[in-house]
């Protein structure tokens, strides 16, 4: 799939959406595991199940509803992907990131991406949130480079360049005002779908990772290419202590994500209302 064809696929989806919803969103939101509360805070004008949107794949992960919510958050037009596509579900990088291209076509300039992640920094506590300052891509998957990357636009860009420092400063100030911990660190992207072994947690910590998950990086790479500014938020759903590791379950991850959801909502609402 080359860049022209993936862009035309995205354009077709965006055109269909614009015929149903005429709002021009400035912000896009990708809601990860358990972050449904943010979606509920949106005054929805239109909700599109992914299966109704032309060309959209259907999300298969637990905790992911799989719909595009269009409406107003704190009075501002936003478009939110409730449920995302993961590489472990078998999607190509191009298809897994189609939603970012579609939201770009709808007009977004800034993007919030959230994910549920394992904490490998021992100072983190389950239910904490970490702003992604940079990432380590250990997903071993690439889009077709010669066709997919638009070299003219991306030459010289690092893939983590989209993480926006002013958005991070603003979010940190918001967390202080609201009296909750907001960390800043490095997100490691793994292919999954199994959780990490103890030996893998030790390895990722040694590499400099603070949280580890199975998403976000492909989306941020596309956002970088498209010039979208990103605030990445990792919800720490379980702190991995490799020397006394307890089993991790998908259900537990969703439960801790729910604890962090109000904080996530506060940060995003604050950022949206200041623009």
């Amino acid at each position: 799939m080359n860049v022209a064809s993936i862009q035309s696929i995205a354009s077709a989806s965006a055109e269909w959406l614009q015929n149903q919803w005429t709002g021009r969103p400035h912000f896009g939101i990708v809601l990860g595991t358990g972050a449904g509360e943010v979606a509920r805070a949106i005054v929805a004008e239109k909700v599109f199940p992914y299966r109704d949107i032309p060309n959209f794949p259907v999300s298969t992960a637990i905790g992911h509803a799989g719909k595009l919510v269009c409406g107003k958050l704190a009075g501002v037009n936003v478009v939110a992907m409730q449920g995302r596509f993961h590489l472990y579900e078998g999607y190509s990088v191009e298809l897994a990131t189609l939603g970012i291209r579609v939201m770009h076509q709808l007009g977004i300039k800034k993007l919030f991406v959230s994910n549920a992640a394992g904490g490998i920094n021992p100072n983190f506590v389950s239910g904490d949130i970490m702003m992604i300052d940079s990432h380590l891509d250990l997903m071993f998957r690439r889009a077709q480079p010669t066709n997919f990357w638009n070299f003219e636009r991306t030459t010289g860009l690092r893939s983590d360049q989209a993480y926006d420092q002013p958005m991070m400063e603003q979010a940190a100030a918001c967390a202080r005002r609201n009296n909750f911990a907001l960390h800043r660190g490095v997100y490691v992207g793994m292919l999954g779908p199994n959780y990490e072994t103890r030996a893998e947690y030790r390895y990722l910590r040694r590499l400099g990772g603070d949280t580890v998950g199975m998403s976000t990086i492909p989306e941020v790479c596309v956002a970088t290419e498209l010039g979208i500014r990103v605030l990445g938020l990792s919800i720490v759903t379980n702190v991995a202590k490799p020397d006394s590791l307890d089993p991790t379950s998908g259900e537990e991850v969703v439960a801790f994500a729910d604890i962090a959801a109000p904080k996530l909502r506060t940060i995003i609402e604050d950022a949206v209302s200041r623009n």
Partner: protein, 274 residues
């Protein structure tokens, strides 16, 4: 992954038509470790080529035969030779036999491999019980839509290798005066051996031995809810600052020489399963 379920039924039915026992354990024999099958009272031996949905083994010293029978009176099925990512096969088919073992009734997987030793306290010919692993294959057998009939979407990996079985194997090793370690196996795709810089990297990230197999089968066994015990035979020493070229035939020779020790430990572990 959704196509696997029906294929498992097909293969299971085929094997049942040749062998009616319920296996207690499945055994995968790696490079140079095939001779263990001599200890099996063979009741059925089927070439992979004759089994529906099985892949052929193309690697050196991998016979490519499924041997069903009794090991010390315990019904087991053993794969004489396995498939590797470097042979170009997709991981979900490389690991397919593990799903068949589970479907036939085995709840224990015994895996073995020949590996490169990076821990300086290890010696050529030593056995290492795999305590944990690092997956650097860049791939995973569970990619795709999960089939909940086969296992959970996100399998936990806090104890992929059963600690009770590791302890059992180590105590047998002590009793039989066999040198056995406990350490971390890192899987890389290969097929080239590692550079000196890569050995330093793998050692730095916490691995004791390196190989090109085993991890996919273990991930699928954990996904299926099987217990796992893994044996690595150190067949060449990989010290980056005094590295000698590896000779695959020498590796097979050393694995063959170490195989009786492996057999002792496998028999001992299975004894506890009776």
């Amino acid at each position: 992954m959704l196509e696997l379920f029906d294929k498992i039924q097909e293969t299971t039915a085929f094997i049942r038509s040749k062998w009616s026992q319920v296996p207690k354990a499945g055994i995968i024999l790696g490079t140079g470790l095939g001779p263990l099958v001599k200890k099996i009272d063979v009741e059925a031996a089927i070439d992979y080529g004759d089994i529906p949905n099985f892949l052929k083994s193309t690697a050196l010293s991998h016979r490519g035969r499924l041997v069903c029978g009794k090991l010390n009176g315990l019904p087991i099925m053993a794969m004489e030779g396995r498939q590797h990512l470097y042979e170009g096969y997709p991981l979900k088919y490389i690991t397919f036999p593990v799903r068949v073992m589970k479907a036939l009734g085995a709840d224990l997987l015994v895996v073995s491999n020949a590996c490169g030793g990076m821990n300086p306290y290890y010696k050529c010919g030593d056995i290492m019980l795999i305590e944990d692993h690092i997956n650097l294959l860049g791939d995973n057998p569970l990619i795709g839509i999960n089939d909940d009939r086969l296992g959970p979407r996100f399998p936990d990996m806090s104890e992929p290798y059963c600690h009770k079985l590791i302890d059992r194997a180590l105590s047998i090793a002590r009793a039989k005066d066999i040198v056995a370690h406990k350490g971390v196996f890192v899987a890389v795709s290969g097929p080239n051996l590692e550079t000196r810089a890569e050995y330093r990297f793998l050692r730095t990230i916490g691995a004791d031995v390196v190989g090109m197999s085993t991890v996919p089968e273990v991930i699928v066994a954990v996904h299926s809810g099987m217990r796992v015990v893994g044996f690595s035979i150190v067949t060449d020493m990989c010290f980056p600052d005094s590295l000698k070229p590896a000779d695959p035939h020498e590796i097979v020779k050393i694995a063959n020489a170490a195989e009786p020790k492996l057999t002792e430990l496998v028999l001992g572990v299975l004894e506890g399963e009776k």
